[in-house]
């Protein structure tokens, strides 16, 4: 269990807090992810938990032990943690075996040789590195070094496992495989895990719970499904996955609990929650929720909440799995991600359908995604 309470941290020489009042709890055996753009404070929190960074104020509890509070600071080497670093941090002057044995050898309790061998080999087997014991650590490939550093973090059976962007140095293929392997190991060992990443795919696919961070604060916390399908604000909608964002103004209440929202692309009906008529809002819809029909005439009269708009194809980007169409609607560009079987050309007339249940409406002035977020998230989610 990890409990972080009201954490504050400002680096010397900076006026902006790196961590600005963060609290969260990781349940025993849970896989919890801090997700956010670089500079959002996620790594600082992880390093505070490890004791590699001092906090200004706040409390951190690992298992039953308070490791940081107003009166207590337990140094890193006496915290019951295992940590995996972004650069693997595998010691180049040691063999694979020596790397993994290190945490056992520097510990207070001296183990018998047989006992130590057993633990080291057990950890190496867990990560699939059995048989590599006598290799020098630097003779391993990137993925193997990563697994070695996981074995080293787990060998003394710590209370918590801290993962600092452990997959970001691997190439795309390997990263995908390591995601699966790392999660399998975590499930098998059942260790409480805190994972820090800027990669939404890693976060969504591996976590039990995700905290999305920006500007030193947690701005939404929830399961991967909640975060993806019910973003709480514009930032989360923009940062996780790609999103069409338009400004709009809430209009009259309509039937079925829906309201009309006036946008540059046309009048849409959507669930606006408790936002009052007349308020300015941002309207978000994910490209894969946009439905595209060929032609400029809808077969039948649109149902309420179907939100059918007319447009023409600006450009289509074929990626194999899908096609991403940029569609001109009343001077707005709406992105749609549809089956790659649908083949439309530049200038083709289309009907664009924005289902009301897929539309999210936020008040203007909430947290926003950084400008680069859309670019950044252009990496396909599939």
């Amino acid at each position: 269990m990890i409990r972080v309470d009201n954490l504050f941290k400002t680096y010397s020489g900076s006026t902006v807090p790196a961590v600005d009042g963060v609290s969260f709890t990781v349940e025993q055996g849970g896989f919890y992810t801090l997700l956010g753009p670089s500079g959002c404070g996620k790594t600082t929190i992880l390093r505070c938990i490890a004791g590699l960074e001092r906090l200004d104020s706040g409390t951190i509890q690992l298992g039953e032990t308070i490791v940081v509070s107003d009166r207590v600071f337990i140094p890193t080497n006496r915290r019951d943690i295992g940590m995996v670093f972004q650069s693997y941090a595998v010691w180049p002057h040691m063999t694979v075996f020596e790397n993994v044995a290190f945490p056992l050898r520097v510990g207070k309790a001296t183990l018998k040789k047989a006992n130590l061998d057993e633990k080291v080999l057990g950890a190496l087997e867990l990560v699939g590195l059995k048989g590599f014991e006598s290799r020098m650590a630097t003779q391993l490939s990137g993925g193997q070094q990563q697994r070695l550093s996981v074995a080293r973090a787990l060998v003394r059976e710590p209370d918590v496992l801290l993962l600092d962007e452990p997959l970001s140095n691997l190439d795309a293929k390997l990263r995908e495989r390591m995601r699966r392997e790392l999660l399998l190991i975590q499930r098998r060992v059942g260790i409480t895990t805190l994972f820090v990443t800027h990669d939404q795919v890693e976060a969504l696919s591996m976590s039990d719970r995700i905290a999305v961070m920006n500007g030193g604060r947690i701005i939404q916390e929830g399961t991967p499904r909640e975060i993806y399908h019910a973003p709480a604000n514009e930032f989360v909608a923009g940062f996780i996955g790609s999103t069409n964002l338009m400004e709009g103004r809430v209009g009259a209440r309509a039937e079925g609990g829906l309201s009309t929202v006036d946008t540059p692309a046309g009048v849409l009906s959507a669930n606006v929650g408790d936002i009052a008529p007349g308020e300015s809002v941002m309207v978000a819809i994910r490209p894969e929720d946009v439905i595209v029909h060929r032609g400029d005439r809808h077969a039948q009269a649109p149902l309420p909440g179907q939100n059918v708009l007319t447009g023409s194809i600006e450009i289509g980007l074929f990626t194999g799995v899908s096609v991403e169409y940029h569609i001109h609607v009343e001077g707005q560009i709406i992105q749609a991600r549809v089956s790659s079987r649908i083949d439309l050309q530049r200038g083709d007339a289309t009907m664009v359908e924005l289902p009301a249940e897929a539309i999210h409406v936020f008040r203007i002035g909430g947290p926003r995604a950084p400008l680069s977020a859309t670019e950044y998230d252009a990496e396909p989610i599939a």
């Binding site: 010397s12 490890a50 004791g51 590699l52 001092r54 509890q61 298992g63 039953e64 032990t65 308070i66 490791v67 940081v68 509070s69 107003d70 009166r71 207590v72 600071f73 337990i74 140094p75 890193t76 080497n77 006496r78 915290r79 019951d80 943690i81 295992g82 940590m83 670093f85 972004q86 650069s87 941090a89 010691w91 180049p92 002057h93 290190f102 945490p103 520097v106 510990g107 207070k108 309790a109 550093s149 080293r152 973090a153 003394r156 059976e157 710590p158 209370d159 801290l162």
Partner: protein, 590 residues
């Protein structure tokens, strides 16, 4: 799992503000040591400039406070003549060494000069030649009475009397000092040439610029910052140089500031005037420190030249064509003048019962008796033991200190960093003569209260040299520690290792190559160093560098030659052991 971690209720009561960790203790200890080593002597120096000792020690009760030393130094026309000589000597030697070095660097780095690798090795190997030996050899070659070249020239042209050449002149000093500066200058300059991204020159050529234009408009502006910083760096080296001004300058009655300080502190007859020596030191210190401050600014500015990357260095070499032969002759001439001729002359002298020009009769007199005598000489044996002890002690102390200071500088955000940076830089700016004098002063004062004697023993030299080379070792070890990713240390801490355990089991094994290399470098410098040894040695004490000076001073040429060859062999072999890569690092060697 949580067995040895205190439970929440009775958590360890360690103050969050100032936990007494290994890193805190290490920081405090190195700051204290450096303050003692660096600031202590400086303070003594400044105080003694205000003390009228009248021949007594500056801190003896009979001495009084005075401004007389400053009056004596700054109001005397002699001081300004001294300054003028110092500047002519310095800029002359710099002009010589930069012209030769830049030509050599360009030929070796950028042209198809034949045998350029051999030439490079020979230039770098001559870093191992102690300046004192170079000076002695050139005195044997060019002194007006029986210098070999003079004897040869007189014979050739039927001249009589002395000369025609005389090394005991300002041009003579400039020439020999210039030669001694070349190896380091070469390394600094060639690093600048190597640092150029050649594609920038290619781009200029592709834009239609000819060879001359590319050189003038692209190459030179690009290397200018590096050349400028090399110039300032070497200016400091030459202003504080001591060996050549001592051996050639003082014989010829041409004092410069460094030798003037030495004369005041260690007069050939009469009592030392420490007050006067200290005041001259303040003057020299000012001349040396101001350029270094500029140097640091230039260096930090030149880092902004993003083009100096050293990446993708595959220069197409310029075809020298008809210039190949003259260029080779130039390279050969330099190597002869800087290395072979001095070594040969020393060897020749060592085989001759009395010094003579090579002739059939002289060849008939050749023998190796001098070596036998030398090795049987008790003083020589003592000097060997002392020198090795000195080298090991200085190397060990300096490198351990350098590693700890480097670690604090690189790895912590401690407020002590600024202080440590300054303290470890100061000895580099402090000319050897001044450091020697200051250390002498502080141990004159401390000796009565110290439990073990330092003054008059080998250990005072060890302390002075450790202070001098701490700058070098901090620079080397900081560079070494930066190479080790911080995460490797953090991973050890996260695995449960203590600060000391992390240093011992992770950091130290990883920086061991840099450590050993630094040790050898400091060891070599300590053996070559005549300045500190000569100022601090007691009448009964001896190391190799002071011994050869004594031999030479007593004009026992065969012994001087033999000892010169022994030292030369040792230091040159040692310098070849230094890893080439690090020698190429260049700036470290000084």
């Amino acid at each position: 799992m949580t067995a040895d971690v205190p439970a929440a209720g009775k958590a360890a009561r360690i103050s969050r503000r100032s936990p007494l960790t290994g890193r805190t203790v290490a920081t405090v200890v190195v700051v204290a040591i450096l303050i003692f080593l660096v600031l202590g002597p400086l303070l003594m120096l400044v105080i003694s400039t205000f003390r009228d000792s009248g021949g007594a020690l500056p801190f003896s009760p009979s001495a009084s406070w005075t401004l007389g030393n400053y009056a004596e130094v700054f109001l005397a026309p002699k001081t300004y003549r001294l300054l003028l000589t110092t500047f002519i000597f310095s800029f002359g030697a710099l002009a010589f060494s930069f012209t030769v070095s830049t030509l050599l660097a360009w030929l070796i780095e950028r042209t198809n000069l034949p045998f350029r690798n051999a030439l490079f090795v020979l230039i770098v190997a001559s870093i191992g030649i102690p300046t004192v030996i170079l000076g002695i050899a050139w005195e044997m070659i060019l002194n007006p009475v029986n210098g070999l070249i003079n004897l040869f020239l007189r014979d050739l042209f039927g001249l009589t009397g002395q000369g025609p050449l005389n090394v005991f002149t300002l041009p003579g000093m400039i020439f020999v000092q210039g030669i001694s500066l070349v190896p380091i200058t070469y390394l600094l300059v060639s690093a600048a040439f190597r640092g150029i991204d050649v594609s920038l020159e290619d781009a200029a050529a592709a834009s239609g610029a000819g060879f001359g234009k590319v050189m003038r408009r692209v190459t030179l502006p690009l290397v200018t910052p590096a050349l400028l910083s090399a110039f300032v760096y070497q200016f400091v080296s030459v202003v504080e140089s001591f060996d050549i001004p001592l051996i050639i300058g003082l014989r010829g009655g041409i004092p410069v500031l460094s030798t003037q300080i030495y004369i005041a502190a260690r007069p050939p007859g009469g009592l030392p005037d420490y007050g006067l020596a200290s005041t001259y030191s303040i003057l020299l210190l000012a001349i040396a420190v101001v350029p270094l401050l500029i140097y640091n600014r230039v260096v930090s500015r030149s880092e902004r030249y993003a083009t100096i990357t050293g990446r993708g260095y595959h220069p197409r070499r310029i075809d020298l064509r008809a210039w190949k032969i003259p260029a080779m002759l130039f390279g050969a001439a330099f190597v002869i003048v800087s290395f072979f001729l001095p070594a040969l002359v020393l060897f020749w002298a060592s085989t001759q019962p009395f010094y003579a020009i090579p002739s059939p009769e002289a060849f008939a007199r050749m023998n190796f008796n001098a070596y036998g005598e030398l090795f049987a000489n008790k003083t020589f044996q003592k000097a060997i033991v002392n020198t090795l002890l000195l080298g090991f002690a200085v190397g060990t102390i300096t490198l351990i200190l350098g590693t700890l200071v480097g670690w604090v500088l690189v790895r912590t955000r401690s407020r002590a960093r600024f202080l440590l940076d300054l303290l470890s830089f100061l000895p580099h700016a402090m000319p050897g003569v001044i450091l020697g004098l200051s250390v002498l002063l502080i141990y004159l004062l401390l000796d009565p209260v110290l439990p073990v004697p330092i003054y008059g023993t080998l250990w005072i030299i060890v302390i002075a040299m450790s202070t001098q080379y701490v700058s070098l070792s901090v620079r080397l070890m900081s560079a070494g520690i930066i190479q080790v990713k911080l995460e490797l240390e953090e991973a050890a801490e996260a695995s449960g290792a203590s600060w000391f355990g992390t240093i011992r089991r992770i950091l130290f094994p990883l920086i061991r190559p840099a450590f050993i290399n630094g040790f050898l470098l400091v060891f070599l410098q300590a053996i070559k160093n005549l300045t500190l040894a000569l100022i601090l040695i007691s009448p009964g004490g001896v190391v190799l560098s002071t011994l050869i000076y004594q031999f030479w001073d007593k004009a026992t040429t065969d012994q001087t030659g033999a000892l010169g060859i022994v030292i030369l062999t040792f230091t040159v072999v040692l310098s070849i052991f230094l890893r080439r890569a690090n020698i190429r690092g260049g700036t470290a060697v000084a």
